[in-house]
Symmetry: C2
Subunit: 372 residues, 2 copies
């Protein structure tokens, strides 16, 4: 048992790297084709594909990797084109979601750089164009996100004309379809909670926030990518159910970690300014626990100030300290721990190759213990 | 020759009606499934699919009909599932485009009713929710449009698992893919021209506006749907090129008619308030011709006032009269006439059944002579 983990770890890392490189190359070639098509329409439109390219070049590629290991766990070969295309489609979908999310959340930064709508408003200002720069930025980013969403679908549709059997392709397509509908419904519940949450009973805030992260995040970012990879490789429903039992609680833990980092993370590591999530008014599980556990005066302060764009540093600090003192932060960490244990218990039961188990374990640990 | 047109007309109308009904039924069943999926997530999300349903229930279904007759002209059977699915996918794509267009254009009405972002902001106000109603409306409509775009793709992908041969399915898929990229690039050129146009030479305004309508509208609304239908039925490239020779100028004429109606149309018939296009600042061919032909003082008035949200009725009236007096309106009508003649000359050369030719002729005439 002594040598195995090291060897497995090295194998896993090499496979992760090889797959990430293959997805990057697939995206590169694909976007180069689109660059050519847009150049024929007008050089002025190249900025659309360039901003998409920047976005898919970065990121952790967690969804693509889960898809890959779901595929490998069901017996798929390491360098198959179909799973590379699926990974590339997931990355493009995520890029589209980020572009529109940043408009919705009014986030000016993404991974330390300007968000897409901010790139366009800066282009407007710098060019001395007429009318409103913000409005132009939003409009251009809506269109860029739409293009990116279409490109994600175009990439995914290539799988069906590849060597994958039609039953596996259709099962994977069904996962991809449900994933998209669920994440958009989940995002709607998220923005709805921001506005409708304050008028609902504080006792149910945690339950509402939990439902949101399930659809907006856990299923989308974790369960569906893993199941998608398995389905592509023709996994039976028992294995797919086992994948869900691992990846759903893992995805919930991942999102809870994200929520904690959104408030308590180091801006230098997360690439997001401190207090952004609070100014945006996200009604996370952390916020739900705070509202439910805080003293009445503190709860009133939270309800009144969460989502105010003009929050001062002092107000941000007070919100943070309410989250700590109410015990909400500790409760969230306890939830992360419990969900992680559930996930890893399910992982141990999966009938998969040790290399795959080690890879999924590595991805899982990274997701719940990360600092950025 | 005497009896034939009447008989053909009756046949055409019956086929149009039957196809429209089949597309409506396909959309109905499909959206009922999505309704069920969303109900399981949360009843609060049903408003997303309901607003999509309202949007795909109305409209002229011109794109779906062009697709149908492109299919029929290439020998496709009248009631085949594949072309019904293609028509439904085109309708869903158009609905998605309208939802996001209305956000971009800040249009509060669509087909006489409230636009989707306005429906959501009204829901916010009526429910007494917290934070900003406009912002919620825009965010919810971005998500609804994204969902609708995904549903369009989901519908289109069903074709590949139907009875259509894989070569035809792939050819049709290629048209669908190019269509989406081109229309988004064209829409970007459109919003770019609104802001960058005024600082460019007025002598090239017409050429720029012509390029925009080609990609944003003529290819998307006319050429691609017709070619898509033909490709689905396995048409050879000669027939597809003939379809393009008819449908591209037709689509350009259609968009020029749209631009004229946007300024001079009867609001009771178009469902859009008078002056909306002028307040939005659309740099159409009509505007390009006006800027190029108007006297210097009038040109300055146009450049200064086009796109101002607060245009008074008097200012709208002056813009209209500049368009008339400069001869720009008459020139636009002349272009519509010339493009229509080019389109109908190409139609006469198509090697298609007289029923199909009559149907395309009817759609073409309707597109260029419509009043709403």
């Amino acid at each position: 048992m002594n040598a195995t983990p090291v060897k497995t770890g090295a194998t896993t890392a090499a496979e992760n790297d090889a797959f990430i490189a293959a997805v990057a190359e697939e995206l590169n070639d694909f976007l180069a084709d689109k660059h050519q098509l847009l150049a024929q329409i007008s050089p002025a439109t190249l900025v659309l594909v360039d901003s998409i390219k920047t976005l898919v070049t970065g990121g952790k590629r967690m969804r693509a990797l889960l898809c890959y290991w779901g595929w490998r766990g069901a017996g798929g070969a390491p360098d198959a084109k179909s799973v590379i295309q699926a990974g590339a489609a997931l990355e493009l979908f995520q890029a589209a979601a980020l572009i529109h999310d940043d408009i919705i959340d009014r986030s000016d930064t993404r991974r330390g750089g300007p968000s897409v709508h901010r790139q366009f408003s800066t282009l407007h200002t710098g060019s001395g164009w007429a009318l409103d720069d913000e409005r132009f930025g939003h409009a251009a980013a809506i269109l860029t996100g739409d293009l990116c969403l279409s490109l994600s679908e175009e990439m995914f549709s290539r799988i069906a004309s590849g060597p994958i059997g039609s039953a596996a392709a259709e099962r994977a397509r069904a996962v991809f379809n449900v994933m998209r509908t669920e994440v958009m419904a989940g995002q709607y519940l998220d923005i709805l909670e921001e506005v409708a949450g304050p008028s609902k009973p504080h006792e149910t805030a945690v339950a509402r926030a939990s439902a949101i992260i399930r659809y907006k995040s856990a299923k989308y970012s974790s369960e569906h990518p893993l199941v998608l990879g398995g389905a592509l490789a023709g996994a039976d429903e028992t294995l797919l159910a086992g994948y869900s039992a691992f990846a759903l609680p893992l995805g919930e833990a991942f999102q809870l970690r994200d929520d904690v980092l959104g408030v308590f993370g180091d801006p230098a590591q997360t690439g997001k300014p401190a207090g952004d999530d609070l100014r945006e008014g996200k009604r996370t599980v952390l916020v739900g626990l705070t509202i439910d556990a805080a003293a009445a005066a503190d709860r009133e302060f939270v309800d009144k100030n969460l989502g105010r764009q003009d929050l001062s540093e002092d107000q941000v600090a007070r919100l943070c300290s309410i989250m700590v003192e109410s015990g909400a932060l500790a409760s969230t960490e306890a939830m992360i721990s419990e969900l992680s244990q559930t996930a890893f218990a399910a992982l141990a039961l999966l009938p998969i190759d040790p290399t795959v188990a080690a890879a999924l374990s590595g991805l899982g640990l990274g997701a719940v213990t990360r600092t950025s």
